[in-house]
């Protein structure tokens, strides 16, 4: 008995890597768009352009990291865009008045505080996260405008500008930050006890609580991570533009949510990876970039993006149907779990 278990285990480790790649459908989407653009535009596959894609993607991608934690927990954080604007303004003002360290510290503290408030609202007052974060979004965007009287705040600190404008070994610092954050957050989610608790809580909060998981604390921490990363994204945007715009983050929460969903994370919770989110964010970034290269009207760009999101989610939901149209291979024994895909999403309407 034991030996069969171990042999099954080692076999499954091999196949689980293959399964992970297969599961990451967004990769195919990214490759498809990449190939099309490489053919359509000679500029696309150049170092400079690819770095531009990374640079343009980094801000929304950082928001999407926090959003992934929140969505795996079957919650949502609509406040990240407004949190980005608010923390950027707070950072710029503290930086102007008290220097670099104070600016960064104020931004991080503000982001953490926003996440804490969101988390407490969702867990302690049992408010649906959609409503709670919609409200904090509104409060934060108003506060940003009030603090600045609607004007942008200039940032002249040379070191701070470096966060957005300098390069390390030819790679822009924002791209480095993005990759480091993804690696760290991915490790946290996939390998640590906290990550396990996130998946278990998102899948079945009651079962997790009965297993001794402090589900409220897990959710609060996820919102705090989301808030702090919004502040980090705010640093990058502010440093790149050398100004903090109170409205800088408007709409970015939707971009972040789209990246997470394209990356295969289920809105019903319990399922999703940060690698998927990274790929999802890159898909959106590459499409933006490609449309600029191909001179697509800026008005039409949003139309195309919307269609891409629909296509990605459609493929994700219907992959089993599509696959059943293709004749099965002889070794088609690989296990496919119950079809939670559409099933649980419909069943778990939280």
């Amino acid at each position: 008995m034991t030996s069969t278990v171990t042999s099954l285990a080692s076999r499954s480790r091999l196949s689980s890597a293959a399964a992970a790649a297969r599961r990451l459908r967004a990769v195919w989407m990214l490759l498809l768009v990449g190939v099309v653009l490489t053919i359509a535009s000679p500029v696309f596959l150049t170092h400079n352009n690819l770095m531009n894609v990374g640079l343009a993607t980094s801000v929304a991608a950082l928001l999407a990291v926090g959003q992934t934690y929140v969505i795996v927990l079957a919650e949502i954080d609509l406040s990240v865009g407004a949190a980005l604007g608010f923390t950027a303004v707070v950072t710029a003002q503290a930086l102007r008045d008290h220097g670099l360290v104070a600016g960064v510290a104020a931004g991080v503290a503000a982001g953490a505080a926003i996440g804490l408030v969101n988390g407490l609202l969702v867990t302690k007052t049992r408010m649906p996260s959609f409503i709670a974060t919609l409200a904090t979004m509104s409060v934060l965007s108003g506060l940003s405008l009030q603090l600045t009287k609607g004007n942008p705040v200039a940032v002249t600190d040379y070191d701070f500008q470096g966060i957005g404008q300098s390069r390390i070994a030819g790679v822009p610092v924002p791209v480095v930050i993005m990759l480091v954050v993804f690696a760290a957050a991915g490790y946290l989610l996939a390998r640590t006890r906290f990550g396990r608790h996130v998946y278990a809580t998102g899948d079945n909060t009651e079962a997790a609580r009965l297993s001794g998981v402090r589900t409220d604390r897990v959710k609060i921490l996820a919102f705090v991570i989301s808030g702090v990363l919004a502040a980090l994204a705010g640093f990058i945007l502010t440093a790149r533009l050398s100004t903090a715009e109170p409205t800088a983050g408007t709409g970015l929460e939707l971009e972040a949510i789209a990246a997470v969903i394209i990356g295969g994370t289920s809105l019903a919770g319990g399922r999703g990876t940060l690698l998927g989110t990274l790929v999802g964010a890159l898909v959106l970034g590459v499409i933006d970039n490609g449309m600029n290269l191909l001179d697509v009207s800026p008005f039409l760009q949003n139309v195309v993006k919307g269609l891409v999101i629909l296509l990605a989610v459609f493929l994700d939901r219907n992959i089993d149907v599509l696959r059943s149209l293709i004749p099965k291979r002889a070794d088609g024994t690989a296990h496919r779990g119950p079809s939670h895909r559409g099933g649980t999403a419909a069943a778990k309407t939280r």
Partner: protein
């Protein structure tokens, strides 16, 4: 209505639920239908209400063969059912009046635009007929359980039923509310409505019925006027005298007390419970649904408030304000609601098994996967959890293997006390026996087990001792040869003799 069933058979796959049921219900008669869980009561109800079609046999209404192809056909003949889960048939956000006339089949309140005033008047008058004074404009969600049930009955009455079937109608009611329900039932009988009353509370069955019919294993084992019966005879008819060798019970009880509970009360659910469970002992708790046994287990695991009393495990006080603290006190709980609070179905079997014990496999919060896999693999092999691999989602396993996974998760924590509520619910026969062997293994290791089960043969066979509860209070403790279905039922239903 005169309603007859002649040799009705019904199977679901291999499961032969009704094996030739014949009975007759006369107009204006209250007939009580009794039987243990799984005796076939619900299936019989569903055959009469048109929800199931009999495989064989006939249903006669007023002497003529009736074809009840669906519930609508039964309703057209004047057959109404108030199901035990009646709450599911009500819309909590709609008003009482709207709920009562959801199926305004003949368009009485206007075909295109519904007249709220006329609807409210009709609803009030229907409620008044039952002697009830409920504001029909209130949303049903604001009513108490008893009032909702009355609304459901009033709703059935608007269809002018000739046969009313009540399935466990007092399960959610307290004594006073039940008394009001009984008044209504008597009133309906006066009005000539035939009533089929399903209950396993013998006191109310004897109080209310003209005749008692007992089902066991899909057959009628008793059908006599209530006046000529005693509770003991009804219980005997329900239980039979079948003894089963299907339970591999091992006796591992020692003298050392592991779980000691003194004066435990949990709000309105249970009062003044004392328990002593010894190492290796299985203490069964008997009683009908609603007697407080489920809440007692939940309170010991921190899921229900313990308003008074003390709990110790191996002499150490355990204050289980939440499951975390209970687990830290080496108490584990197998929930009766496997999918709702047992397993995270999308996560791997392995992740489910290790979840409460993850701390044992972490270094600086990082999970050591090799150690985790080795430890979970061993427990899963010991408990014979059959999964294609430890990394398949728990939801992909069969019910029996899911249940064993749930056990594996708690065995892994090394509990001193294992509380289990309906441990074999929704599990096939083979897996049941395996779960009994798991219980044996636990008691052999000196774990104290508390077993709650509505499967009476299981409770009798697997328990060393049985505490019977009734209306939130322990009423008697059965040991040795006194642990049998007859005694448990008698004490649970009618109190200590």
């Amino acid at each position: 209505m005169r309603m007859q069933l002649a040799d009705v058979h019904k199977s679901f796959g291999e499961n032969h639920v009704l094996r030739g049921v014949s009975l007759a219900v006369e107009p204006g008669e209250v007939v009580a239908l009794c039987g243990e869980n799984g005796a076939g009561k619900s299936t019989l109800t569903r055959v009469i209400s048109g929800a199931h079609q009999p495989d064989r046999g006939r249903v006669l209404v007023d002497g003529e063969a009736a074809v009840l192809k669906d519930p609508q056909a039964a309703m057209a003949l004047g057959i109404e059912v108030i199901y035990q889960e009646f709450q599911q048939n009500l819309f909590p956000h709609l008003s009482v009046a709207e709920n009562m006339h959801v199926l305004d089949r003949d368009g009485r309140f206007g075909r295109w635009s519904v007249s709220r005033r006329r609807m409210a008047e009709a609803a009030s008058s229907a409620l008044r007929d039952l002697g009830l004074d409920i504001d029909v404009r209130r949303p049903v969600g604001e009513l108490g359980v008893a009032e909702r049930q009355m609304v459901e009955i009033a709703k059935a009455m608007t269809h002018k039923p000739r046969l009313l079937i009540l399935d466990e109608p007092t399960a959610a009611l307290d004594e006073r509310e039940s008394e009001r329900l009984f008044e209504q039932v008597r009133r309906l009988r006066e009005a000539g409505v035939t009533i089929l009353y399903i209950s396993h509370r013998l006191d109310e069955v004897f109080e209310l019925s003209d005749r008692i019919v007992v089902l066991r294993d899909g057959r009628v084992t008793l059908d006599e006027p209530t006046g000529s019966l005693t509770p003991a005879r009804v219980v005997t008819a329900m239980v039979g005298d079948a003894v089963d060798d299907f339970y591999p019970k091992e006796r591992n009880a020692t003298d050392r007390v592991v779980l000691r509970v003194r004066g435990a009360s949990g709000g309105d659910a249970f009062h003044g419970v004392d328990l002593d469970v010894r190492a290796g002992e299985v203490l069964g708790i008997g009683g009908v649904v609603g007697c407080g046994r489920g809440e007692l287990l939940r309170a010991l695991f921190g899921l229900h408030p313990l308003t008074a009393g003390t709990v110790t495990v191996d002499g150490e006080p355990v204050r289980a304000r939440d499951p975390r603290r209970a687990i830290a006190g080496r108490v584990a709980y197998v929930t009766p609601d496997r999918s709702g609070e047992g397993l995270a179905m999308q996560q791997s079997v392995e992740a489910n098994v290790s979840l409460p014990s993850l701390g044992r496999f972490t270094t600086a919060d990082v999970v050591r996967r090799g150690r985790e896999r080795a430890a979970t693999g061993k427990v899963m092999a010991d408990l014979r959890v059959r999964a294609a691999s430890p990394s398949v989602p728990a939801g992909s396993l069969s019910g029996g293997n899911q249940q064993k996974t749930l056990f594996a998760k708690w065995v892994m924590t090394g509990p001193r006390v294992l509380l289990m509520d309906e441990p074999t619910r929704g599990v096939d026969v083979g897996a049941k026996t395996e779960i009994y062997r798991i219980i044996n293994g636990l008691t052999a290791d000196g774990v104290a087990v508390v077993l709650v089960s509505s499967d009476l043969p299981e409770l009798v066979a697997m328990s060393d001792r049985v505490l019977v509860m009734r209306e939130g209070r322990p009423v008697s403790e059965l040991t040795g040869d006194d642990v049998n279905e007859q005694n448990i039922l008698e004490h649970a239903l009618v109190g200590a003799p």
